[in-house]
Symmetry: C2
Subunit: 408 residues, 2 copies
């Protein structure tokens, strides 16, 4: 049985960034840029005023000066400032030829077509020179940049209404099991409602992927094969839950072994020991355990980093920080445990408490959890005041692909 670290490394070795696609600018939000962006022009493209005021010649000694016209933003008025004159100008308007400075309206007095400067003005004052914000030829964004609001704005300002990015992976999500019914269906005796598909689709959205519901499949080989084959034809990855333990009706793993390559089927961890990772025609398939907590924790530890790598991200892993236990916490004697916890900042460090009973079926153990404590297997409880490592689930990824970092 492999460790969680080994499992993650195997997953990351078998997934690669998707082929870049051109996306409309706003759709590219939170996507990773697939090419360098070099400015094809200067910004601002013309010298312009940073203030509302008057365009003047700074070293002109005359005062007051004759107001010869007005230059507002958006066009070129065709005025020229000569010694002894000035032009009324608004913020963002092009500086008229001849002028080399702007004096704020608050620093002037205007009367009878003449403007008195109440203080001296330096050459260049309140003028935004060509290329001040962006210089033509400058590489403004590097391939690999994750596009946030500021990068989206910068691209718009340079004329990009679409952009080459790594696309959001389309991920099919299938729940399996004869006992599983839709949430709106009243369960008959022996049946339970599906929760995994909804939780996983929500987790996919948060990971920036496009979830595709594949519904619920019964424990029948033909039905499972059909739905997984169809999903592989249209999706970049497939996630199933249920049907990966040791029972007679656990059909997923042999099915994946026939269709592709199973890289592992068990991981030494709690929750989530039975966890199959396969690739079929180069596409990753994650067969997650059926217990709701197990499937979500497995998603966070293995699927999310894989999807981030497929999305072109360089930072794949949530930060791991030392936390001090605020209470005694019982781990697991047999397996390393990812223990759901609430972590908070205190005195410059982090403290943690458990979310309570860690049963794999108990989604309540994840409600309010913002961290997973990484508890080595041990018999005795971890004591209040002990320090353990925690994975911060609500913090952005800060750690790079460990495989890429170590491979030659």
């Amino acid at each position: 049985m492999i460790t969680a670290e080994e499992a993650l490394a195997i997953v990351l070795r078998h997934v690669q960034p998707l082929a870049p696609q051109v996306q409309p600018l706003l759709e590219a939000l939170d996507c990773v840029l697939a090419q360098d962006v070099v400015a094809q022009e200067d910004l601002p493209p013309f010298p312009c005023s940073a203030k509302d005021g008057f365009a003047v010649i700074a070293r002109d000694a005359s005062n007051p000066r004759r107001l010869i016209g007005e230059q507002t933003a958006g066009y070129v008025a065709g005025l020229r400032v000569e010694p002894g004159t000035c032009v009324r100008i608004t913020t963002g308007a092009p500086l008229p030829p001849g002028a080399d400075a702007v004096i704020m309206v608050e620093d002037t007095q205007e009367a009878n077509g003449m403007v008195t400067l109440l203080r001296p003005v330096a050459p260049g004052a309140d003028v935004r020179p060509v290329g001040q914000d962006v210089a033509k030829g400058e590489r403004v964004l590097a391939a690999g940049t994750c596009l946030g609001p500021q990068e989206i704005g910068l691209l718009a300002s340079l004329g990009h209404s679409s952009v080459l990015v790594y696309p959001r992976p389309r991920v099919g999500v299938l729940s399996t099991g004869n006992e599983v019914v839709e949430p709106e269906t009243p369960p008959r005796p022996g049946q339970i409602r599906d929760s995994n598909r909804y939780a996983l689709m929500a987790a996919l959205r948060r990971a920036g992927a496009q979830p595709v519901s594949l519904g619920i499949a019964p424990d029948e080989e033909a039905a499972l094969t059909a739905v997984i084959d169809e999903a592989l034809a249209t999706c970049d990855a497939v996630i199933t839950s249920g049907g990966v333990s040791m029972g007679k009706l656990d059909l997923i793993k042999p099915l994946l072994a026939r269709r592709g390559q199973v890289h592992f089927g068990l991981v030494n961890m709690k929750p989530g020991k039975p966890l199959t990772f396969a690739t079929v025609e180069g596409k990753p398939v994650f067969a997650l355990p059926g217990f709701p907590v197990s499937s979500l924790v497995s998603f966070e530890l293995f699927v999310r980093p894989a999807l981030r790598k497929m999305s072109g991200h360089r930072l794949l892993l949530r930060p791991r920080v030392p936390v001090t236990l605020a209470e005694a916490i019982r781990g697991d004697a047999g397996r390393p445990e990812f223990h759901r916890a609430v972590v908070w900042r205190e005195n410059g460090g982090y403290k943690a408490r458990s979310t309570g009973l860690q049963s794999s079926g108990r989604l309540l153990s994840m409600v309010g959890a913002n961290a997973l404590l990484v508890l080595p297997q041990q018999d005795r409880p971890f004591q209040a005041g002990e320090t353990v490592m925690a994975i911060l689930l609500d913090h952005p990824e800060t750690d790079p692909d460990p495989v890429a970092a170590t491979e030659p």
Copy 2:
């Protein structure tokens, strides 16, 4: 001129959570629950097996035991376990009447219709009792909870295919100015491309709001009035950018004063001093400055907290942490500055460096920035090694509404 803190308090006093709406479950991701959710049933609803194995009577002394049938998941096989017998069972299947424990298949040997138990089994072993995960009548989620994947899964498991939440605010976004053209339009002399609308719509998506593009309006009172009136009829809030300084063509503020109430028009900060906040028929209108950095920083400081309050969130503000400057940084002698910076963890604390030239037009000063340094106004530069406060822009909100916290 008011301070940024006063401006934020005024904004938060004038916005309230939107009326809750029923949303389909997956659409409610990242929304705030508007009612307590009480479990109407037990989970699991029937005692079921946690493992693949055999359902047995724990204190039955007979060994081997006769295999009388099979109970898989999803139905009730109608078998009854008597002393001397057992039933093959799969994970998640209902425990047959009579049985009180499950022994894992790995701990048994099966031959000729008889099952030998290789180790003793305790009553209740590997049986998930009724209500283990959720007890009927238990309040599983409190009003005010932000719904993540685990909460979505929990709601699905309890039969909720839709849920009452605070809706995502619909926010109209308008760029103003005769000089502004669409990104795909080649600018003529004196024109520049719109970036603010794209950056703000992206920032709205990240804030969980629904952006509605209102296009670009010229500096004409009738056109501006028409588009803002139409937006107020269909949106929960409106954001404009440009047209809020002191110039003759700055029409937004007087327009808002006629239509509603202007609460402030200037904030003592850099970037972004001219910033108008108004309410019109109870709906907030933010008239942001035209400079790209000013509008985005103003959005982060004032609009995003307001939208979070409208969305029912209790935590409105990004965390502020002390950071140590890794280099000397020049602030502003005249106004408190929100200085764009890169902050990283080091030795248990945070360090920060500037993103460079802080011109309000220079979106590059926000590229890669994950924090705003809160620099008090002062003449001399801040020194390397000095400690200042930083607002962490990529961390989830951790601080509650300061107005609600202080009001009686």
